[in-house]
């Protein structure tokens, strides 16, 4: 929305300016994409389906973090803590009350929203680095609470959850629905008053306040909405894995999500999606590459270490060489294609 087009497309009303799909080619490509997404499980094998499910799960979390960091500009290092909160809400409700799926999902979103309020309160006084550090501290507290529950109740290795959805194909459609809903909600938020307030705050919060935006309310709303989404993705993650454990939500998970929005490209929902695809598929790509070189047998015990090192390296490369991320590359390709059929040399 509101990206200027090269030529031929004129917007004559705000309604047109706000449209999510504003050209005919975008609409037709969207239909193709939607059909491909819906038809994917009919063709894919179990492994590809599992990968797709992981990508969809990650994309919900990445969109949540993108709203907070990429649009509202509030740096958070507590993302894994929020996801853990959602997962543990689901686990505890399931174990203690035998709550069904349709009850735990909204419950964990509600817990996430409440925690988001707690994570967001420091943002009223702190900015930048100090805010990041306070969310980091909250992350450790949430994880501690989770592991405390595990040890107190005797689930020392983790809480087992029975999922109502057993089939990977059914999971795919459920996750696709959740991810599509998350993206749609985010896009709608972003083109409304809330989203504009967030972007203004990201640019400079003093000016945003002078423009009549309730800075504190908007910051808190960013934290609450993002945290609710993150907790929701944590809850789905718990059901998908059938297992909740505090170890799964380490600081590394936060870093992975931050990497998704960095690699994808800050300030773009498309970036969050591309980043989650990249980060989720990356370790599998490394493994496949090692297998094709024939190193997999010798290095199978070291695969984890190779992944770790390569992931750090890729993150550094993106931060140093391509700060706009995959979306930046995509935009450049689009700009270049505008000159089609390349009769004239670009200036």
């Amino acid at each position: 929305m509101s990206v200027p087009r090269a030529s031929g497309y004129f917007r004559t009303s705000y309604r047109e300016d706000q449209r999510l799909l504003d050209t005919r080619s975008q609409r037709s490509w969207f239909v193709v994409f939607a059909l491909a997404m819906l038809g994917f499980p009919l063709l894919a094998g179990t492994f590809a389906l599992d990968l797709a499910n992981q990508v969809l799960l990650a994309s919900i979390g990445a969109v949540a973090l993108m709203l907070l960091t990429g649009y509202a500009g509030q740096i958070s290092l507590g993302h894994a803590g929020l996801m853990a909160a959602g997962a543990f809400t689901a686990g505890i409700l399931f174990k203690e009350l035998a709550a069904p799926f349709w009850a735990t999902v909204p419950a964990s979103a509600a817990v996430g929203a409440l925690l988001g309020l707690a994570f967001g309160l420091p943002s009223l006084r702190l900015r930048g680095l100090y805010l990041a550090v306070s969310t980091l501290a909250l992350h450790f507290i949430v994880i501690y609470a989770g592991s405390e529950y595990e040890t107190r109740r005797g689930f020392s290795t983790g809480v087992v959850i029975d999922s109502p959805i057993a089939d990977a194909r059914a999971w795919y459609y459920v996750l696709l629905a959740f991810a599509a809903a998350a993206v749609l909600v985010s896009l709608n938020l972003l083109r409304s008053r809330t989203g504009r307030a967030w972007r203004a705050i990201r640019a400079r919060d003093t000016v945003a306040g002078a423009l009549g935006i309730g800075v504190q309310g908007a910051k808190l709303s960013a934290f609450v909405i993002s945290s609710a989404l993150a907790a929701l993705s944590g809850c789905l993650f718990a059901y998908y894995r059938g297992f909740v454990s505090a170890e799964a939500f380490s600081l590394y998970l936060t870093i992975q999500y931050v990497a998704m929005i960095i690699i994808g490209g800050m300030g773009s929902i498309l970036g969050a999606l591309l980043g989650s695809v990249f980060v989720v598929l990356f370790p599998y790509a490394i493994e496949a590459a090692m297998k094709s070189v024939g190193l997999a047998e010798q290095l199978s015990s070291l695969l984890f270490a190779v992944n770790y090192a390569a992931f750090g390296l890729v993150m550094i490369l993106f931060l140093v060489l391509e700060p706009l991320g995959l979306v930046g590359i995509w935009r450049r390709v689009q700009d270049w294609l505008l000159l089609w059929p390349f009769r004239q040399k670009p200036l």
């Binding site: 960091t69 740096i75 420091p122 943002s123 009223l124 006084r125 702190l126 900015r127 930048g128 680095l129 100090y130 990041a132 550090v133 306070s134 980091l136 501290a137 909250l138 450790f140 507290i141 501690y144 592991s147 405390e148 040890t151 919060d205 600081l251 590394y252 870093i255 931050v258 990497a259 960095i262 070291l302 984890f304 270490a305 190779v306 992944n307 770790y308 090192a309 390569a310 992931f311 750090g312 390296l313 993150m315 550094i316 931060l319 140093v320 700060p323």
Partner: protein
């Protein structure tokens, strides 16, 4: 009494680690979250030099300490130099990414098994009596070297020509640069010193217990200590380490050993609510709403 000794040892560990955070932050306004990994790299360096200079423990220790400083220089020259002038988040994330890269590479090179550098150096680690408590020789060395490092840093920043340049660059980089201070040199020096002290801490911790993967956590836990005291104050780092270590040891002793990983962060959160710039930090430096 034993509790007091434990607090002292833990506080000096945190102090020795957190002065690296403070050095880098007060000179270049970058928060290095790769400090735990750099610390561990220092410890692996000791393992390496110990097998290289077998029978000469002093040479091995000196070589690995020097190596740690060189690593810091390289980190700045090859990576962080490119991030000067970028947004705060980008620089912090670069250090996080560097940490991941280092951890993966260390796992690749040295594997996941435990190392005992002290055994490789063929040095004993006797337990010495202090009044009614006991302290191991390496822990005592740790306390002493922390004191030495802080005294050295104080003298260096107070009287040394490079130390004064470092303070100038920290206070106002633009003015300092116009007065002829080479910012890149100063920043590189800060990174080298921070990695040197961090590496020293890593070596001593590894010698006292063992070198294993959990060492990174110590680096992460020392960070609240630096923040509680104020990120741009060395004195603050000392005080913060003492506070955090006291809270941690007492909580472990009287409440629950599981608390040990959260205790520093609870202290940090309390501090951020009450006095976000820390005990001794400069108030106007803080990016505060």
């Amino acid at each position: 009494m034993q509790l007091a000794v434990n607090v002292l040892v833990l506080a000096s560990i945190y102090a020795l680690v957190s002065c690296g955070y403070v050095l880098i932050y007060r000179t270049s306004r970058v928060l290095s979250l790769a400090h735990g990994e750099l610390m561990m790299l220092g410890a692996y360096g000791l393992v390496m030099t110990a097998s290289l200079f077998r029978g000469h423990p002093l040479i091995a220790i000196a070589a690995s300490a020097g190596l740690a400083g060189v690593v810091g220089l390289l980190v700045y020259a090859l990576l962080m130099r490119r991030m000067t002038g970028e947004a705060v988040l980008a620089a912090v994330l670069t250090t996080i990414a560097l940490g991941i890269l280092l951890r993966g590479s260390m796992l690749l090179i040295w594997g996941a098994q435990e190392y005992h550098p002290l055994r490789a150096l063929e040095l004993p680690n006797p337990s010495l009596p202090v009044a009614s408590a006991r302290i191991s020789a390496v822990a005592l060395a740790l306390v002493l070297s922390t004191a030495a490092v802080y005294a050295g840093l104080w003298a260096f920043l107070r009287f040394g020509a490079w130390g004064i340049r470092m303070r100038a660059a920290g206070q106002n980089p633009l003015l300092a640069a116009q007065r002829g201070v080479g910012l890149h040199g100063v920043y590189a020096l800060a990174w080298a010193l921070a990695t040197f002290t961090g590496g020293l801490a890593g070596m001593l911790i590894a010698s006292d217990a063992a070198l294993e993967q959990t060492m990174v956590v110590i680096g992460l836990k020392a960070f609240p200590a630096a923040l509680v005291g104020g990120l741009d104050s060395l004195l603050g780092a000392l005080a913060g380490s003492l506070i955090v270590a006291t809270a941690e040891v007492l909580l472990i002793h009287y409440v629950d050993p599981l608390v040990s990983d959260v205790a520093p962060f609870v202290v940090l959160l309390a501090m951020l609510v009450v006095r976000p710039w820390g005990l001794f930090g400069t108030r106007e430096e803080l990016d505060r709403v």
